[in-house]
């Protein structure tokens, strides 16, 4: 009946749903969960190691070979720590908030295609135990919107943590963090729309399929959306250089100051888990997902290999940012978001649309491009002029006082 037609978008569920299909779905869910957890553990180690190397330190080297089990050791330690509940906290919300940070990360990862060969007409469908399926937990027709929705839901964990702690610094930290996340969501969304425009679909599998044969969105959209997305994603993750949420000098520990023990570990985990998820999304949207040349060996393996390689590259980039860039000031952060990234992403989207319409209507592409760039330049000039006028007005008002 009604909802059944929705599910049928996934080839796995198109036919009769029997026990095997249910088991396959369950298996995929377990794999995705385990994958994300392990990847997060390794990411924590990887980042610490890379960061240490870049700052001429050794980094974790005690637990396991190269200290690779450091995260496990940390986890065990944190698990046995006393779990404090502040006296003035709102108990229910205080306990709920960490979960609200972790769950969206999982849900987002569910729509990421982590393997499959997208070069044929089948579009990434593989055979698993005699059933045809995609190598992703779910492929809803609105996959990309789901990603955006989850990234906006991630705000709750931060916001409620700060409020429910019943203390000053966490509240300030959380208001800062959530304002930052909400601000950068617009840029994130606008650059995603460019991808959707180029790919012509909202499903993640469709977007990956549209990028086969090296037609990656990275250049198909003209690089700018990728850069905007990367910066906005860094801000959305509250990672350096946008980590002023936890600027220790100003806010103690930020929104999770009052958290300890397992609950603190969950925030710590969520932060890195979100980093992994966001990297996976960037790979899917811009870097062709599992697309890549098939060299030797089984075909299905290479999709996964390429996906991982790209994921590692991005994770390294995030660690690199952290080691290299100094932290932004709050007003700089807001200026960058509102006055640079959002106009840039919007302008670029309009340019892309103009080119698309132009080619549909058979206009001269060079003319369209010239006119489009000129219009954007004019818009930018207006923006700069308006900013200058506003500043002068403020100064006048200040002099008046």
């Amino acid at each position: 009946m009604t909802a059944a037609s929705l599910l049928a978008a996934d080839p796995l569920l198109a036919g009769k749903v029997d026990l095997a299909v249910v088991l396959i779905v369950a298996l995929k869910a377990v794999i995705v969960l385990a994958f994300l957890l392990v990847a997060t553990m390794l990411m924590i180690w990887f980042e610490r190691k890379v960061h240490a190397d870049m700052t001429n330190r050794i980094g974790p080297n005690q637990a396991g070979p190269f200290g690779i089990l450091q995260s496990v050791a940390d986890g065990v330690k944190v698990f046995f720590k006393e779990d404090l509940l502040p006296d003035r906290a709102d108990r229910f919300v205080f306990r709920l908030a960490p979960f609200l940070s972790v769950v969206p990360a999982f849900l987002t990862f569910a729509v990421v295609p982590i393997g499959g060969n997208f070069s044929d007409a089948d579009g990434g469908v593989i055979e698993l135990f005699g059933h045809r399926t995609l190598l992703q937990l779910a492929d809803p027709p609105i996959g990309v919107l789901l990603v955006l929705a989850m990234s906006s839901i991630a705000v709750y964990g931060v916001m409620l943590a700060g409020w429910s702690s019943g203390s000053k610094y966490p509240l300030l930290g959380s208001v800062r963090a959530s304002a930052q996340m909400v601000s950068y969501e617009a840029a994130l969304g606008l650059s995603t729309v460019t991808v959707v425009l180029v790919a012509g679909t909202l499903t993640t599998s469709g977007i990956v399929a549209a990028q086969h044969t090296w037609n990656w969105n990275l250049w198909a959209t003209g690089i700018v959306p990728f850069v905007v997305f990367l910066i906005a994603a860094t801000a959305e993750l509250n990672r350096p250089p946008f980590d002023l949420v936890e600027a220790e000098q100003e806010l103690v520990g930020g929104f999770h100051t009052e958290y300890s023990g397992v609950r603190f570990a969950m925030y710590y985990l969520a932060e890195f888990m979100n980093t992994v998820t966001m990297s996976a999304i960037i790979v899917t949207l811009f870097l062709g997902g599992p697309n890549g040349p098939v060299l030797v060996g089984p075909e299905w393996l290479w999709g996964i290999v390429w996906f991982f390689a790209k994921l590692m590259l991005l994770l390294f980039t995030f660690a690199w940012f952290r080691a290299t860039l100094p932290r932004f000031r709050y007003d700089q952060l807001m200026d960058l978001g509102w006055k640079a990234l959002i106009p840039l992403a919007l302008g670029w989207l309009l340019l892309m649309i103009a080119i698309r319409v132009g080619s549909d209507e058979g206009w001269n592409p060079i003319l369209v491009m010239v006119v489009g760039v000129a219009a954007l330049a004019a818009g930018y000039a207006l923006l700069v002029l308006a900013g200058r006028t506003a500043r002068r007005n403020r100064e006048l008002a200040g002099a008046h006082l």
Partner: protein, 514 residues
């Protein structure tokens, strides 16, 4: 970029509807003008002496009126038509109300300029919001689809909520805004529920399709539709300030900046009635027996409550709020008649009322002085001697509102009562005349206060004269008052052009050509 060009051919072409720009011209001019004003205001340094914000606003509104003329002729030649996939209908009804709403914007703008300077609130935003709000009103007037109607209603309302609270330092302005907003959003939600009901009962939100459906099918059970009518009426009733959805009116009128009230009482009310007439009289015309009784009682209550409560007020602004409820009752009589005569009577009333009420609140703006707080009846004592011209203008407006012969108000009241009698609503007509008599007391009270020669008024006059400087009537406000007075008396003396135009302006629903 490569991918973009490569895939361009693959996508299926979508049949986008033909956009007839000329048909949408009034709305586009208003919206474009608002955006332009906003942009230019952001670029120009603040604090210029000339009120160019107001000048641009008036130019935009006048340009919108100018675009109506060719279309009026086109409708005369080719008949009404609908554009953009049948979501916007252009008929003389919508064009008539477009002019009325734009005129109310012009007059309100002229008062706003002086007000903003007096209160130290200069800026382009009030004008931008007023233009956007009016464009919402224009969308309502020409909506051919309940979705469009609702969006127009919301554009109209949201901008006015903000305008009501625009005077940030005045606590009462904020109070007016929150009251208007909460009750407005509440009534919008009812309206939406009503739209959902109508959609469920008829399977469409397009007014043409709804009317078609209702004409072709006789619903065995019209309960759902009647529920929809009632809920829609809540939404419209709120916008036009009809009893029992009027509770916001006195507080909001009293608290909001006075020139904004002049727009609320004229433009917003006209837009509300535009929707009411088009949805009820035209679309649901076949089911008039179901909704006429509801409108009947709403009209009776508005007439009586508005008149009686207006008389007992001591705050003039508040009294005028109740009087506007009373006027809404009169216009509802035209709706209730559900006939061509009723519609044209309502349109005539709206056009005449726009000038007199906008003018009234314009005088109130000036008398309110800095701080916009001098609205007690005692503040008007002796105005006739201190400011003879201003007082005379107010007398004209008040007499017109009371329905004195030789002013526009007399014929306006005459036409709606005539329409009510034609549709055999004798009791309603009787109630209307009674309420006119009651509310005449209010207007006479104000006039007596202005020209009263009792010792009491004398001392009050003396006190006022010593307490404050002479009232300053800004030039722009003066122009607006002259326009309003001329219109009010002119329509009263030479009513034929307007009444014939109103008679021509019958609403019609036309399906899209495609």
């Amino acid at each position: 970029m490569v991918g973009l060009l490569a895939q361009a051919g693959e996508a299926a072409r979508l049949d986008t509807p033909e956009v007839e720009w000329t048909a949408l011209a009034p709305v586009l001019v208003m919206i474009g003008g608002a955006v332009l004003l906003m942009v230019v205001a952001a670029l120009a340094p603040r604090g210029s002496r000339v009120g160019w914000h107001a000048i641009v606003t008036i130019a935009v509104a006048v340009a919108a009126i100018a675009t109506v003329v060719p279309q009026w002729n086109r409708v005369g030649d080719d008949g009404p038509f609908s554009v953009v996939a049948g979501s916007v209908g252009v008929d003389r009804f919508s064009l008539f109300l477009t002019v009325v709403i734009c005129a109310s914007v012009v007059i309100a703008t002229l008062f706003t300029d002086g007000y903003l300077r007096r209160e130290g609130l200069e800026g382009a935003e009030p004008y931008v919001l007023m233009l956007l709000s009016a464009s919402g009103g224009l969308i309502m007037a020409s909506a051919n689809d309940l979705i469009v109607m609702f969006l127009g209603l919301e554009i109209l309302s949201i901008a006015v909520y903000v305008l009501a609270g625009m005077h940030l330092r005045r606590v009462r302005s904020g109070e007016a805004a929150i009251k208007y907003f909460v009750l407005g959003a509440f009534s919008s939600a009812f309206f939406l529920y009503g739209v959902a009901m109508v959609y469920g009962a008829t399977g469409s939100t397009n007014l043409v399709e709804v009317a078609d459906f209702l004409a072709r099918n006789t619903l065995a059970d019209s309960g759902l539709l009647v529920a929809g009518f009632a809920l829609l009426l809540v939404g419209f009733g709120f916008k036009v300030a009809a009893v029992p959805f009027h509770s916001w009116t006195p507080d909001v009128y009293q608290g909001s900046p006075t020139p904004i009230v002049s727009y609320m009482a004229s433009g917003v009310k006209a837009a509300g009635f535009a929707g009411l007439l088009r949805v009820f009289v035209v679309t649901f015309g076949d089911y008039r027996l179901d909704w006429q009784p509801i409108v009947y009682w709403v009209a009776v209550l508005s007439l009586l409550v508005g008149a009686v409560l207006a008389v007992v007020q001591t705050d003039v602004k508040r009294a005028m709020a109740y009087s506007s409820i009373n006027h809404a009752g009169f216009i509802l009589m035209g709706v209730q008649a559900a006939s061509d005569r009723g519609v044209s009577a309502a349109l005539f009333y709206l056009a005449a009322y726009t000038f007199m009420v906008a003018g009234t609140f314009g005088v109130l703006t000036v008398v309110g002085r800095r701080g916009d707080g001098h609205h007690q009846l005692s503040d008007y004592a002796g105005l006739g001697r201190r400011e003879p011209l201003l007082a005379l203008a107010l007398v004209v407006f008040l007499l017109a509102q009371a329905g004195t012969p030789l002013t526009s108000g007399f014929l306006a009241k005459f036409y709606v009562i005539d329409a009510a009698i034609e549709s055999r609503s004798f009791w309603l007509a009787l109630v209307a005349m009674l309420s006119a008599v009651i509310s005449a007391f209010l207007y006479l009270r104000i006039i007596l206060a202005m020209y009263g020669s009792s010792d009491d008024a004398e001392t009050a006059d003396g006190a006022a004269a010593t307490a404050g400087p002479r009232l300053r009537v800004p030039a722009a406000a003066g122009i607006a008052l002259v326009i309003a007075v001329v219109a009010t008396i002119g329509i009263g003396l030479v009513p034929d052009p307007l009444s014939e135009t109103a008679r021509d302006a019958t609403p019609e629903l036309v399906a899209s050509g495609d």
